[in-house]
């Protein structure tokens, strides 16, 4: 049986956090980005985004546990989050919400 080292536990914990909280944040960002970018009315874009968001989230979960290390998992999320953050920030600034 694989040795249950503290490092292993921390890695699993970190991945779980990445998959759950990171997933929530990233999926929310994709919602915003889709609303910002899809050429349809806001409610249509939002519904479409929320319908497909769980596929994204599932992908994030798979990624978080497939990545070789927990750090890589987080890095991957951050890399994807960066452009989404820019789009979301631009969008919210335009709307005057943020």
């Amino acid at each position: 049986m694989r040795a249950m080292t503290a490092a292993h536990r921390w890695s699993v914990f970190s991945r779980c956090v990445a998959a759950a909280l990171g997933g929530y944040a990233l999926v929310s960002l994709t919602h915003l980005a889709m609303v910002a970018l899809l050429p349809v009315a806001q409610h249509k874009a939002l519904l479409f985004a929320s319908q497909t968001g769980y596929l994204t989230w599932t992908g994030i979960i798979v990624w978080c546990f497939a990545a070789r290390t927990a750090r890589r998992a987080w890095t991957g999320l951050a890399i994807v989050a960066l452009p989404l953050l820019l789009v979301a920030g631009w969008f919210l600034a335009q709307r005057g919400v943020a």
């Binding site: 929530y24 609303v35 249509k44 989230w57 919400v97």
Partner: protein, 1149 residues
């Protein structure tokens, strides 16, 4: 995570499945019941009358209109539910009073009408939650605030979906799984069942799970909608979000005009309805403002008309009866998608056939989760038991929670139905108490397995389940008049259907209970495609209530388990006996013990030696005694005839009656003052087990490399072509050969690949089933089992002693005196040559340190190769003895190089779970100055040290080479190759099932040790002939290999790196004998991985043809994949590579 994408996904699938498995099982179970919610409602309100004569829709409408006209002519709205679809089994009407304040929402009045008489039937239904409360538990759970429950369910849905996606990823053979079910194969059947249930309804599972998200997507992820729909005052924007995102359009309806007008005869509207939709599609009518001039009649279709648009309706003017609007709301695409997905989830569109199918798929999904839960526990328990580890608390708990869930939850639902019939009609909060009873039952069913052994709890709860469902129809008959005796003859199909389904559930539970009790034991798995339908039905039946067919009562399967243990033990003992036989061959040959040597051969043995073929034991014996011993037993003074037997690859035939072996023989031959010869050659042995004793059936020696001591293994002079083939029988021998033996390697050793008696071990197919040649059966059974358990322990002890002795050698190599001494018992003794006896760890450590400082001097070599071990563990398992051939390469760092041959006779003692060296007696056979060799130099055995006088004088006085001294052997010649002697203890108690399976594990691990040694040795055999493809095949796909050329990641890159070294296959004139020696093998507790340290000794020639000595260490990690061990990691650390002429002492730098 773990190595490889698929492994990480497998890990994720397993753990995701477990953490939410119990809740999901509940969700799937109660959600599935949602497909029959109104049917359950009907059963749970038995007072509701059954009308045999329902009439046509027109008649029903006429009756309903008359009733409502009389009861509520001024109502704000009427609703009429027609009999026909599953929405209403009776003619139900309701009306809502008109109010002045539009915000008032008065509760509707309800009535059920007798369609024949038009009278309201006041049946006074009991207070019950019915099927509605039951199915809503699949997203509301119970006793938890709604919003919290939704969050839990959404998280579970997400995990469920991820578990399904990862499950698909880990699947290599989705199509094959459609047709694969192997019943009665224990664990394998469960996995098959799990796969079959998953893949056959995969689209259903995916859709049901994914659509589950869409119901509560706002509750789960409100932040973005709140951000976008906030009105600027920080108010939560839920409402406007819903208005924006989920527009549920309604037909435009005019307000009441205030002027009365009589309502059209409703049946007349059905002409137009039938024209629009077809007959009997309408199911409900709603009349707004009946009796008003602006009355509207809304006609709704049955829900089966469309998945996405059940809200279609026809709007009639209530006064004129004219069709005002065919209302067919159209949505934008993603809203349509939303409707379709939710419609698919609810399954309201399904007619009875599709509904039954949905019910089956829901049950299948429930069973998928149930089987997954059992798999989790079974796999881990098996793995732990296989590793000899007591299952930990987690498994204990999961086992019990699984029973509480998989069997307990259906029982709890039965309790809900029982409560419906048994709770007093006037009980306050009666409907709530139905739910309380359900959860009390569930709690009890969770508690019960905690108090009982799981195998008992399983059977008992299954019988309880069978009783709970089987007696439901009886209960129904006792408490109502709507039992099967009424419902069947009167066509009350819903009531009858419920009772019959309950009986079917009871039957399934009973079958499972019986199966669990009987059930099959572990059988060697075999892949056999079955008929998908039959398999699916079987699995569905089995798994509805989830019964692990391998979790059987110990009693029933014990006998088979003991047989299995016997096979495993005897096979592992056979391997050990064969190796002992072969190594005894070496020790006997070394000392010229010709009779003992000949006794190792079967009567009809065949021996193919370089001097020719000898047939039969008698001829072989004559050859030994006359040709080799010149007529006498034992070696003549001054002779050296070492045949050190090394590098075994031993394979036992599937039936255990015969075996093959490839061995290397390192010969150090000669006569003092006359000659010294190195000889390195390969042998093939065939063994046979006769009357419980292993013998050599056939021996074939192949020409090897070697040469005179002074020059070493120089390239031999080329032979004339076909020299070997034409060489006559050597008639000049005292005992001539019986026939010529034409050695295929004699012509040119360097290009000869000695045939392998085994296929490549990385790609070979394992036999499906194995047997063993077992001894006479011991009675009673308990004594037989106890004896096997003891013998399995001895097998493990033997491996432990081997590792101990070999580790000692590795420590001595590096001058790790402290660690080497730590392997001894506190009161141990050690004696080398004539130096006397040192007693106790501290003294032993100091005596070891006579060879050099801790960690050795710079440039000093102290390699002590631990070879040819013959280990015997005492029957009581408390002590052991071993004979070791120790070949020492010492000197350097200022001291002259020495080559020493020792034979050690050691004894060992068990300390708790581990072993220590109790007594080490190293006899020096030969010691020589490397520069001169054993023809010229014969050093005496080490004498007593002046600096560290021994505690006791030498226990045996003898002289080393050139004298011939045979250190006493700890075993009898007659016992060599003999099967283990059983110890019959008639009073022995039957070992527990756990002890038996642990014993099987021990025996199998002994086989794993053998196979890992085989693998490493085979690696050496391939490497020395540059067989790159064969080498690479011994590695896993992702293996990481650090060889001298650098690191290779992955088998294909390894192969490329090897091929870059040169063409594949033997190279004329090249020599690179790779002796793989002294393996230390640790098989991990789960039996699927192992570590290995193996010593390499190379007899090579460099590019200029100069003989070279090489040495190094391979350290490896291995993994067992589908029963095949392969290297997962390997790294090689070189100790030295020096010209033979220079030797290791000259290489100090």
């Amino acid at each position: 995570m773990k190595e490889g994408f698929r492994q990480s996904m497998s890990w994720l699938h397993t753990w995701l499945g477990l953490v939410i498995g119990w809740i999901l099982y509940f969700v799937y179970l109660t959600g599935t019941l949602g497909y029959v919610d109104t049917e359950i409602d009907y059963w749970m309100k038995p007072e509701r009358p059954h009308f045999e004569q329902v009439g046509t829709q027109r008649e029903q409408l006429s009756v309903a209109q008359a009733y409502l006209q009389q009861q509520a002519p001024d109502a704000a709205r009427w609703t009429i539910q027609l009999i026909g679809g599953r929405e209403a089994p009776s003619l139900d009407v309701s009306w809502t009073d008109r109010t002045t304040d539009p915000r008032d929402r008065p509760a509707p009045h309800r009535a059920t009408l007798d369609p024949a008489t038009g009278e309201a039937v006041d049946y006074g239904a009991r207070d019950t939650g019915g099927g509605q409360v039951l199915y809503k538990m699949h997203y509301q759970l119970a006793y938890i605030p709604y919003d919290k429950a939704i969050l839990i369910i959404m998280v579970c849905t997400l995990v469920m979906f991820a578990a399904m996606v990862t499950g698909i990823i880990v699947h290599k053979n989705i199509f094959k799984d459609f047709f694969t079910f192997r019943p009665r194969k224990g664990q394998r059947s469960w996995l098959d069942g799990h796969n079959l249930l998953s893949v056959t309804a995969l689209p259903f599972h995916l859709v049901v799970t994914y659509s589950g998200f869409l119901f509560f997507t706002y509750q789960f992820m409100p932040s973005v909608p709140d951000l976008l729909y906030a009105d600027g005052n920080g108010r939560s924007a839920g409402l406007s979000f819903y208005e924006g995102v989920y527009p549920y359009p309604q037909p435009a309806l005019p307000p009441a005009s205030g002027s009365p007008a009589s309502l059209v005869q409703l049946p007349a509207l059905l002409n137009e309805v039938d024209r629009q939709w077809g007959r009997d599609i309408a199911t409900a009518l709603e009349v707004r403002n009946p009796g008003d001039a602006s009355a509207r009649v809304l006609v709704k279709p049955q829900e089966t008309v469309s998945i996405a648009y059940p809200e279609n309706m026809l709007v009639f003017d209530g006064a004129s009866g004219r069709l005002v609007e065919n209302f067919e709301p159209r949505h934008y695409p993603s809203a349509t998608g939303d409707h379709v997905m939710k419609g698919l989830h609810k399954g309201l569109f399904a007619d009875w056939f599709l509904r039954v199918l949905l019910l089956f798929m829901g049950v299948g999904g429930t069973a998928m989760i149930g089987t997954g839960l059992f798999l989790w526990a079974n796999t881990r328990r098996t793995r732990l038991l296989a590793a000899g580890v007591q299952p930990h608390f987690g498994i204990w708990l999961v086992d019990r929670l699984n029973i509480g869930t998989v069997i307990g939850m259906p029982v709890a639902i039965a309790a809900y139905f029982w409560a419906n019939r048994l709770l007093p009609a006037d009980l306050a909060s009666r409907a709530a108490w139905e739910v309380h009873v359900m959860y009390l039952a569930m709690a009890a069913l969770f508690a019960y397995p905690m108090l009982r052994p799981p195998e008992k709890a399983r059977v008992e709860t299954l019988w309880l389940c069978a009783a709970a469902y089987g007696l439901l129809p009886v209960l129904n008959a006792l408490t109502t008049s709507r039992h099967l005796g009424y419902s069947l003859p009167h066509g009350d199909w819903i009531m009858a259907g419920f009772d019959l389904t309950a009986l079917a559930c009871a039957a399934i539970a009973a079958i499972c209970a019986l199966k669990v009790r009987r059930s099959a034991a572990h059988v060697v798995p075999r892949r056999r495609p079955g008929v998908a339908g039959v398999a699916a039905a079987m699995v569905a039946v089995l798994a509805v209530l989830g019964v692990p067919s391998d979790a059987v009562s110990a009693e029933a399967s014990r006998s088979r388990q003991i047989d299995e243990l016997e096979i495993a033990v005897v096979r592992a003992e056979d391997i050990s006996a064969i190796k002992t036989l072969q190594r005894a061959y070496g020790y006997y040959a070394d000392r010229g013990l010709w009779n003992e040597l000949a006794d190792l051969f079967a009567d009809d043995a065949i021996a193919n030696y370089p001097s020719g073929g000898f047939d039969g034991q008698a001829s072989i014996r004559a050859m030994f005694v006359q040709n080799l011993g010149q007529g006498r037993q034992g070696l003549a003074e001054g002779r050296i005839y070492n045949h050190t037997i090394l590098q075994p690859v031993v394979d036992l035939a599937p039936d255990g009656a015969s075996a093959t072996g490839r061995w290397r023989v390192l010969g150090m031959l000669g006569r003092f003052g006359a000659s010294a010869i190195w000889a390195d050659s390969l042998y093939r042995f065939d063994y046979v087990k006769r009357d419980g004793r292993w013998k050599i059936r056939e021996l074939t020696a192949y020409a090897g490399s070697g040469g005179g001591y002074d020059a070493g293994w120089v390239k031999p002079a080329p032979r004339p072509p076909n020299a070997a083939a034409t060489s006559p029988i050597r008639n000049n021998l005292a005992h001539p050969a019986d026939r010529p033996w034409i050695d295929p390697c004699e012509a040119d050793v360097s290009v000869c690949v000695v045939p392998f008696p085994y296929p490549n071990r990385g790609t070979m197919r394992r036999p499906r089933e194995v047997g063993a040649q077992v001894g006479p059966r011991i009675v009673p059974e308990a004594a037989r089992a106890a004896d096997l358990v003891r013998r399995a322990q001895r097998l493990e002890d033997e491996q432990a002693v081997l590792n101990l002795q070999r580790s000692y050698g590795y420590h001595v190599d590096r001058g790790e005196w402290r660690q080497a001494a730590a392997l001894f018992a506190p009161d141990a003794t050690r004696e080398v040559g004539q130096s006397g006896v040192y007693v106790g760890r501290a003294r032993i450590r100091r005596s070891l340190a006579l060879a050099g400082p801790e960690g050795l001097r710079a440039g000093q070599l102290n390699d002590h190769l631990q070879l040819e071990p013959i280990v015997h563990v005492a029957p009581d398992g408390r002590t052991a003895q071993a004979r070791i051939f120790e070949l020492a390469f010492t000197g350097g760092g200022g001291a002259p190089a020495r080559l020493v041959q020792n034979v050690a006779e050691n004894s060992y003692a068990r300390r708790g779970d581990s072993w220590v060296i109790q007594r080490m007696h190293v006899y020096t056979i030969l010691a020589t100055d490397y520069a001169q060799g054993w023809a010229k130099s014969a050093l005496p055995a080490p004498g007593t040290s002046a600096t560290l006088p021994p505690d006791q004088p030498p226990s045996v006085r003898y002289e080393a080479y050139p004298a011939v001294f045979t250190p006493p052997l700890h075993f009898e010649a007659a016992s060599v190759g003999q099967a283990a002697t059983p110890v019959v203890d008639a009073s022995a108690r039957m070992p527990s099932s756990r002890q038996l399976s642990q014993a099987v594990t021990k025996a199998r691990r002994a086989m794993d040790h053998n196979e890992i040694e085989n693998l490493q040795n085979a690696y050496g055999y391939y490497a020395e002939k540059f067989l790159w493809s064969e080498m690479a095949a011994l590695f896993t796909d992702e293996a990481v290999v650090d060889l001298e050329g650098g690191r290779s990641t992955g088998r294909s890159r390894l192969l490329a790196a090897l091929q870059a070294r040169g063409p594949e296959g033997p190279v004329p004139g090249a020599l690179d004998s790779q002796l793989q020696l002294q393996p230390v093998i640790e098989v991990a507790a789960d039996g699927s991985s192992a570590t290995l340290r193996s010593r390499l000794l190379q007899l090579a020639r460099d590019a200029q043809g100069r003989p070279m000595w090489g040495a190094g260490i391979h350290t490896s990690k291995l993994r067992k994949q589908d029963g095949v061990w392969r290297f997962e990691r390997m790294s090689f650390r070189r100790t030295y590579l020096v010209p033979y002429k220079v030797g290791w002492a000259g290489s100090a730098d």
